[in-house]
Each structure stands twice: as structure tokens, then as C-alpha cells.
């Protein structure tokens, strides 16, 4: 166990890592589909989403490194931090499962991303607002794509319906973490840097409920909030992140400073 820092030295640095790491880790997960998509067109689509997310992560982690001011760039943050230093939520590090599982994870994330990025376009931090404006266009397409698949698979065959329902029930428990508000979030809200997660949560629930109903799926009900105040945002990750990082970081760590 890593001791919790009592007071964050740099709340903005922490917050930018959360934003960047969500996208870096989910982008890596989506890249695992490359060459394994259900059809050629979807293979290209998932790779596109992966690249969009990694591109967003690049911008956010670069800004995080500048804010930290210790000479770390986006590559240093992506490849040279350990699992306990990552600030992504649990949802994005969950394994892909079958295609329907990936779709559900992506959809739950995409709705959150659109709402959050929309709020961040009005951030008092110009650099972050700019990144959000660029990323929002991509996120709007992502949710169109994953939302369409939610309807097609949920309201599809008996098998696709059963699989997507199971994935929804399984992944649902990771969604409250998206809206947890801690000291860092409160500092971001009061500085006008980030929107209030509580406001996003209401909108998120409305949109997600609507799509679940139209997909003829069963709403999993109220999800319990995280039991511990020390969650993935503080570095307490599931076992899956370590395996993901081992694969993601191996080349950079085997050949430090290499360029290609």
C-alpha cells in the first residue's frame, strides 16, 4: 500500500493525469482489438477510436508534465510511471471481453466523456479548454458509434441481448467512480477549471437510461458508490492494470531513449 498524500502538492497536475490516464488506458485497451475486430470495417473503427483516445491522452499528459514542471513529457508519464502512479478509473482498465463487453464499456465511458469535455470547453484554463474542444468532436463520434452498437446488440438476437445485458450488469459497478468528487475535484470546480461531477452525473444517468431502454435492456438499478475513499484515482487499481502496463511499457523500457 502506498500512503495517501495528505495534501496534493499540485491539484491541477493530479486532475490532468486523471483525464489523460483514462484516455491512455482505454486507448490501449481499444488498440488490443487491432486485427481482431468482428469485421474489417469495425476493426478500422476500433483502431480509429484507440488512436483518438491516445491522441487526447498525449495532449493532456503533455500539459500535465508542463504543469508539474519537473521536466517530464507525455512519454515519461506514459511509460515510466508505475501502476500506483496511474490515475485512471477502474472502468477503462477492465479487459475487453467479447465485442459486446467492449461496446458497453465504451458507451458508458463515451457518454461521460462527451458531457465532461463539453464542460471543459468552458474551463478557465485556456490550454485545457482548447484540448477539450478538439477532443469533444471525437467523443461525439465515439458515442454515436458505441450508442448505435448498444441498440443493435441489445435489440438484436437473443444471444447478443444476453451477452450485452451481462456486460452491462458486470461493468455497472464501475460507473459511480466516474462521478466521485474529492478534494482535487473541489479545487478544480472552485477554480472554474472543471465542471461539477454531480451535474454531469444527472445528465449521464438520463442519457444512459434512455439508451438502455431503447436497446430493450434491463437497467441495473442504483449502483453502490465506491466503498473506499482510496480508489483508482488515488492509485489503487485492479490487477488488470499491471498486465496492461507491462505490455504497453515494455518497448519504451527495453530501449530507453529510442526513436523510431
Amino acid at each position: 500500500m502506498v500512503p495517501l498524500p495528505t495534501a496534493p502538492v499540485n491539484a491541477l497536475f493530479e486532475y490532468l493525469q486523471r483525464l489523460g490516464d483514462d484516455r491512455l488506458i482505454l486507448g490501449h485497451r481499444m488498440s488490443e482489438w487491432c486485427g481482431h475486430g468482428p469485421i474489417l470495417e469495425e476493426d478500422i473503427a476500433t483502431a480509429n477510436v484507440a488512436l483518438d483516445l491516445i491522441g487526447q491522452a498525449t495532449m493532456l499528459l503533455r500539459l500535465a508534465g508542463e504543469v508539474e514542471g519537473k521536466g517530464r513529457d507525455e512519454d515519461a508519464l506514459a511509460y515510466w510511471r508505475e501502476a500506483v502512479e496511474f490515475r485512471n478509473c477502474l472502468l477503462v482498465e477492465q479487459p475487453n471481453g467479447d465485442f459486446g463487453h467492449t461496446v458497453v464499456r465504451q458507451f458508458l465511458f463515451d457518454v461521460h466523456a462527451v458531457l465532461l469535455l463539453d464542460g471543459l470547453t468552458r474551463s478557465t484554463h485556456d490550454g485545457l479548454a482548447g484540448i477539450a474542444a478538439k477532443s469533444l468532436k471525437e467523443a461525439k463520434y465515439h458515442v454515436r458509434h458505441s450508442g448505435d452498437w448498444m441498440l443493435k446488440l441489445g435489440d438484436g438476437t437473443d444471444e447478443s441481448h444476453r451477452r450485452v445485458q451481462r456486460s452491462l450488469d458486470d461493468l455497472w459497478r464501475f460507473t459511480p467512480e466516474l462521478f466521485v468528487t474529492d478534494a482535487i475535484d473541489r479545487e478544480m470546480i472552485s477554480a472554474g477549471i472543471a465542471p461539477d461531477p454531480a451535474v454531469l452525473q444527472e445528465q449521464w444517468q438520463t442519457i444512459v437510461r434512455d439508451v438502455i431502454e431503447r436497446a430493450t435492456l434491463q437497467h441495473p438499478g442504483e449502483a453502490a458508490p465506491p466503498a473506499s475513499a482510496r480508489g483508482a484515482r488515488q492509485g489503487a487499481h485492479s490487477e488488470h492494470l499491471g498486465h496492461l502496463l507491462a505490455e504497453m511499457q515494455i518497448v519504451a523500457r527495453s530501449h530507453p531513449g529510442a526513436t523510431w
Binding site: 469485421i39 474489417l40 470495417e41 469495425e42 478500422i44 473503427a45 480509429n48 457518454v111 462527451v114 458531457l115 463539453d118 461525439k140 463520434y141 458515442v143 454515436r144 458509434h145 450508442g147 448505435d148 441498440l151 443493435k152 435489440d155 442519457i207 434512455d210 439508451v211
Partner: protein
């Protein structure tokens, strides 16, 4: 705010060979330019065809508009018709404007 989760629900029809229906994709590169055939792809409905066309044919930019058309909706001329359909046009120079001399006093561009 718009989240674009509007999706046109259309019945999916799977072809006898198990492939999803084929669509022809046309892309437009700029205002007033014609939509040109870019290629084809598989999709179960029009919304998915647009999404796949975006991902396959527009992801590197240079596209401002997409058309997707069910391949079955296109009627094509057959190769055996090529003679009567196209050969007569090959030797009729008077159908080209260049065949005619511009009258004196008309500026030739």
C-alpha cells in the same frame, strides 16, 4: 446539448452468403464538387454504413460529405452492351465543342 445518440432503427437483412449487405460509398472533397465513388463496404443499415464510410474512407481527412447507396440499388450497364452503348460516340467529333471554329470577333479562351 446534442450527444448524437439518435440512431435510425432499421431491420438488418443478412445476405444469403452470411455477409452483411454491401454499400457503395461516394465522397465529396469540397463544396460544389461532385460526389465520387470511393469504394464499398459492408453494413447492416444506413447509419452503420455512414459510420463505416467515415472510418474507412474519410478518416484521413479531405472529405466534407458522404453518400452511401445500397449496392443493389445501382443498375449497371453490362459489358456485352459496351459496343452499342459506347462505340458510336467514339467517332462523332462534331459532338465536341472543339469541332467548331469560333466566329471572328469571339474571344477564344
Amino acid at each position: 446539448m446534442s450527444t448524437n445518440i439518435e440512431v435510425a432503427a432499421q431491420a438488418a437483412t443478412i445476405a444469403a452468403d452470411g455477409q452483411w449487405p454491401l454499400w457503395e460509398v461516394f465522397t465529396q472533397s469540397e463544396q460544389a464538387a461532385p460526389h465520387e465513388h470511393a469504394g464499398s463496404l459492408h453494413a447492416v443499415d444506413a447509419e452503420q454504413a455512414i459510420q463505416n464510410a467515415r472510418d474507412v474512407y474519410a478518416r484521413r481527412g479531405g472529405v466534407i460529405s458522404l453518400w452511401v447507396v445500397p449496392a443493389g440499388a445501382i443498375t449497371a450497364s453490362s459489358a456485352s452492351d459496351a459496343g452499342p452503348l459506347f462505340d458510336p460516340g467514339a467517332d462523332k467529333a462534331y459532338r465536341h465543342p472543339q469541332f467548331y471554329k469560333a466566329p471572328r470577333g469571339v474571344r477564344v479562351f
